[in-house]
């Protein structure tokens, strides 16, 4: 019997295991109806993202004007022109790079500085944080109009203040000076968004355990050393978010540029997004699509390099 039981028990066990597996398998198998739930999101993704992206690739090898039924396939000619025969695109890319560097560095440093100074939850810090955050709730167009009048050489606040304190020599045409115009726009961007990014840093700083600072202080670390060896490595995730967000924001400063520089903006204020828009306006859809693809590649490349740089900086300290 024992033998029999022993012989049978595995079979019973097998049956149970099979039943169990079947139950688990049935439980693991998703009810097909559930697959309908992601469908709306998938449709939206395909219609509004995947489809247009694929179309952009297709348009980029044509000379389509945006409305004619007829068009020519031009192969890689559009890309060749962008790379070798287009001062306007090159100028816009250069402006964008200058804008990006100033905004990423200045905005990150300023927002971190504000966060360090205002990280405590005292009443005055909270009030100041709210004040610095205020520009972030304004639309870019409003910000552009406010600063357009700030920068006005005749009635603008900046030149009036400079004149009022006897510094007439420092008066400038600001956006009218081709060599510096883009930096003034970058300054506006920093003003508008530093407070917003400060909030991310404040959240990051408040996650750092107080004990780490106490032990660093016991070890005789100075204020700077505490920042360098405790704060900076531990706010790496916040820094990565801020830098990535600021980079993408710098490439998308479209409405700010158009608000400050008009449509189309002068060459000295043109950045990649406004250049692509102007090309579309000029009824050169094929070429604009090729510019958009190059733009996409540049953003991907810059974002990748930046993430590497941030990681290296924070692991290397």
């Amino acid at each position: 019997m024992t033998e029999t039981l022993q012989e049978r028990s595995p079979r019973v066990g097998d049956g149970e295991a099979r039943t169990g597996r079947r139950r688990r398998s049935a439980a693991a198998r998703t009810h097909p109806g559930l697959w309908l739930f992601p469908l709306p999101a998938l449709v939206l993704y395909v219609v509004f993202f995947a489809g247009p992206t694929i179309q952009a690739f297709q348009y980029s090898i044509t000379d389509w004007d945006g409305f004619s039924a007829a068009y020519q396939n031009v192969g890689a000619t559009n890309f060749e022109n962008i790379a070798t025969n287009d001062d306007l695109f090159l100028g816009a890319a250069t402006n964008n790079l200058k804008f990006l560097l100033v905004v990423v560095i200045a905005q990150t440093v300023l927002s971190l500085l504000l966060a360090v100074l205002l990280q405590r939850n005292s009443r005055s810090s909270t009030t100041l944080r709210a004040l610095f955050f205020l520009p972030a709730i304004l639309s870019s167009v409003s910000v552009a109009f406010v600063w357009k009048f700030m920068y006005d050489p005749n009635f603008g606040l900046i030149n009036q203040v400079l004149g009022g304190i006897g510094l007439d020599g420092l008066k400038s045409s600001f956006l009218g000076n081709a060599s510096t115009a883009i930096y003034w726009v970058a300054l506006t961007q920093v003003w508008a968004h530093a407070g917003q990014l400060m909030v991310i840093f404040v959240a990051g700083l408040q996650q750092i355990p107080e004990e780490l600072y106490e032990s660093a202080a016991l070890d005789g670390a100075s204020q700077w050393q505490r920042f360098r060896f405790v704060t900076w490595p531990l706010i790496a995730p916040a820094t990565a978010i801020v830098v990535a967000y600021t980079t993408i924001q710098s490439f998308k400063a479209f409405d700010l540029i158009l608000g400050l520089g008009g449509n189309p903006p002068k060459g000295s204020l043109d950045i990649l997004s406004t250049r692509i828009y102007t090309t579309f306006t000029n009824s050169r859809f094929g070429y604009a699509a090729a510019e958009s693809i190059v733009f996409m590649v540049i953003i991907a490349l810059v974002s990748f390099l930046q993430r590497r740089a941030v990681r290296l900086t924070q692991h290397g300290v």
């Binding site: 198998r29 998703t30 009810h31 097909p32 697959w35 469908l39 998938l42 395909v46 219609v47 995947a50 489809g51 247009p52 694929i54 179309q55 297709q58 348009y59 044509t62 389509w64 004007d65 945006g66 409305f67 004619s68 039924a69 007829a70 068009y71 022109n81 025969n85 287009d86 001062d87 306007l88 357009k148 920068y151 006005d152 050489p153 005749n154 009635f155 030149n159 008066k171 400038s172 045409s173 600001f174 956006l175 009218g176 000076n177 081709a178 008009g262 449509n263 189309p264 903006p265 002068k266 060459g267 828009y277 102007t278 090309t279 579309f280 306006t281 000029n282 009824s283 859809f285 070429y287």
Partner: protein
């Protein structure tokens, strides 16, 4: 469990396969050739006739004319009770950029407008204008003023406004300084500017920070310097170059004007320029007559006129000034209510209604027999008879070429040498032509 068409349960794999097939289908759909969804670009036909009924959209960019159009719409709807008109207004820059795509759809702009130049050319090419050549309404317009609405002998649209794209003057100041005789050559114009400057005035308020408005002075500066009237079209076609003598002369003259513009003029927007002019700190506003109403709104009460710098000697000058016929009205070929759209266009073309628009907005119109009662329009009316050139800057169909050529003038005022500015502009022209 759901079952498929064969009565079998729909597994995860099957569901994924179906989604994959759907996605691939969508991707293939996305690969449909460009232009395959485009509207007709075939030869335009006349607008449909019949009893005007329905709700129509009137697409334009003149937000400042909204109230005057609202009054006209009200009168039109009273006379044509089965039709309602809605204004679809976009800012002029947006209109320039995106109107064609919106109007092609047919849901907006049963009656629409176009800027003279690139936009009109594209709209004709896209087939959104109906052919108005044989419509009775053509007779309502001054033939010489509606050529900007024609292409290849077909009248597609009717330019409605006549504006003078040349500096507006404060006649109290300029009249006194010139003794009523405007400068007839370049040196006299510079002397006038010098005299005004010595009186502590800004001779010319020029919005160098606003390329659209800054470019209006370009019209006057090239009208007599260029070897032919289609100079901008020839720059675009490659026949003329920015490095040609006549264009370099123009750039050098811009350089000469620099001391007579307000300080830091390349960074000044148009609104501060209007303010300087309206408060009598500047004698001229280098934009155009289309800003007179805005100047009045700022409280200016002085008499105004327009003036064009004559950039040559008096004997060599072919033209006294610049005009533009724009706001090109048309009936949308994709409209479902073409009879109603035609009725609205005909209503606007009647002298009494055109007069209401003109006097209400301080702009001359191309409609015949209009009585101008607005004092500013009366003051400018003699310019309708003078020897003026249709604004050449709108001959450019490539906006990047236009920006490069006009940008050279701004760059020179900003301190760049004329030779370098001309070379830079020509390089962009060459690149655009070769792309």
């Amino acid at each position: 469990m759901n079952k498929n068409a064969f009565g079998q349960p729909l597994s995860r794999r099957t569901a994924l396969q179906l989604l994959g097939v759907g996605g691939a289908g969508a991707a293939l759909t996305a690969c449909a050739g460009p232009g395959s969804t485009a509207g007709s670009t075939s030869a335009a036909s006349a607008p449909a006739t019949g009893k005007p009924t329905g709700a129509i959209s009137f697409a334009h960019w003149r937000a400042e004319d909204k109230d005057v159009f609202a009054k006209l719409i009200s009168a039109f709807q009273s006379a044509t009770p089965d039709v309602t008109v809605r204004q679809d207004i976009s800012p002029s820059n947006d209109y320039q950029s995106s109107a064609l795509q919106r109007i092609r759809g047919g849901s907006v702009g049963d009656v629409f407008t176009a800027f003279r130049g690139a936009q009109f050319v594209d709209m004709v090419k896209a087939g959104v204008y109906t052919d108005m050549s044989k419509q009775a309404v053509v007779q309502q317009y001054e033939p010489s003023l509606i050529t900007a609405g024609q292409q290849d002998g077909t009248q597609y649209g009717f330019p409605y406004q006549v504006v003078f794209n040349m500096p507006v003057t404060n006649e109290d100041i300029i009249g006194t300084a010139t003794g009523g005789t405007p400068p007839k050559d370049w040196q006299s114009f510079l002397d006038l500017c010098d005299k005004l400057k010595s009186q502590g005035l800004v001779p010319i308020a020029w919005p160098g920070g606003d390329p659209g408005n800054a470019g209006q002075l370009f019209n006057s500066m090239v009208m007599n310097n260029a070897p032919s009237d289609d100079m901008c079209a020839k720059i675009e076609s490659g026949e003329y170059k920015c490095t040609d003598d006549w264009f370099l002369t123009t750039l050098k003259q811009y350089q000469q004007l620099k001391p007579y513009f307000q300080p830091n003029s390349t960074g000044t927007a148009v609104e501060p320029c209007q303010q300087i002019f309206a408060t009598k700190k500047a004698a001229m506003l280098a934009t155009g007559s289309y800003h007179i109403a805005a100047i009045r709104a700022l409280g200016a009460t002085f008499p105004m006129n327009v003036i064009s710098p004559i950039t040559t000697s008096a004997e060599k000058a072919k033209y006294e000034g610049i005009y533009n016929a724009t706001f090109i009205l048309g009936v949308n070929s994709h409209s479902q209510h073409q009879a109603a759209a035609s009725a609205w266009l005909e209503f606007l073309s009647q002298p009494a209604n055109a007069g209401e628009y003109a006097n209400g907005t301080s702009q001359h119109v191309t409609v015949k027999g209009v009585e101008y009662t607005n004092p500013d329009l009366k003051a400018l009316a003699p310019w309708l008879q003078k020897k003026t050139l249709l604004a050449p800057r709108f001959q450019f169909n490539n906006l990047d070429i236009r920006s490069a050529v006009e940008g050279a003038c701004i760059a020179v005022v900003g301190g760049k040498s004329p030779d370098a500015a001309a070379a830079d502009a020509q390089r962009v022209v060459d690149q655009q032509r070769s792309q």
